[in-house]
Amino acid sequence: MNVIFYLAGAVAILSTVLAISRLNAIHALLYMIVSLLAVALSFFTLGAPFAAVLEVIIYAGAIMVLFVFVVMLLNVGPEATEQERLWLQPANWGGPAVLAVILIAELAYVTLHEVLAAPPAQIITPLGVSLTLLGPYLLGVELASFVLMAGLVAAFHAGRREPD
């Protein structure tokens, strides 16, 4: 379990370094997604499977897709097609693919070798998380709904096209 955590951490650091040093937004996003998946795997080894699932679904799934949508919005025009063709070169997706293969290998190792038979210190189940979330932290949930509402209104207002 230790080795998996260290390897996932190394992949996370490496892909984050590559993400903040890319010149192209899509390349950076690919590395960023790999970084989030690596962090999710380290959550898993820390005995937090619910956080790992949320990391994959919401961070890598929803938030990064939002980034991709914005990149697509900003790249309208005839030159976008040429750019797409350039982006499909193997040199562009090769690095993230190699790092992702490392993560897949770790996942396969965990699944096949039943490493989880000897779990980390203590697995905190989704049940425990939800009981805590909707019990002592109920006020926090309400505040989070305030934040989401404010974010919705602000995004709607700021994202409007100016009439001029």
Binding site: M1, N2, F5, Y6, G9, A12, I13, T16, V17, A19, I20, A25, A28, L29, M32, S35, L36, V39, S42, F43, T45, L46, G47, A48, A51, L54, I58, Y59, A62, I63, L66, F67, V70, V71, L73, L74, A118, P120, A121, Q122, I124, G128, V129, L131, T132, L133, Y137, G140, A144, V147, L148, G151, L152, A154, A155, F156, H157, A158, G159, E162
Partner: protein
């Protein structure tokens, strides 16, 4: 089968947070600044989960969920501002907006 030492988890979170700070500092593109902010929020969440794992409490993951919520709200506003920025200045260079109008 020993468990991961808390120190190393915290070191990982610290390194990721530092990389996010570095990204905010060295990049002048609004898009990459938003990406670096996400890296920092993610690192903070990792620190919470590591601490929750250390004391076997669910509170760490609850805090991670709150951080997730804040990250999503912050990003939606940030990306709306980014689109507005692109429409107004036709660039994503953050220095284009360094002048106040007034």
């Amino acid at each position: 089968m020993t468990t991961v030492p808390t120190l190393y988890g915290m070191v990982l979170a610290g390194i990721l947070f530092g990389l996010g700070v570095l990204g905010v500092i060295i990049r002048r593109n609004l898009f990459f600044i938003l990406l670096s902010l996400e890296i920092m929020l993610n690192a903070a969440g990792l620190a919470f989960v590591v601490a929750g794992s250390r004391w076997a409490q669910a509170d760490g993951q609850v805090m991670f969920i709150f951080i997730l919520t804040v990250a999503a709200a912050e990003l939606s506003v940030g990306l709306a501002l980014l689109i507005q920025f692109q429409h107004r200045f036709h660039t994503l260079d953050i220095d284009a907006a360094s002048d106040l109008r007034g």
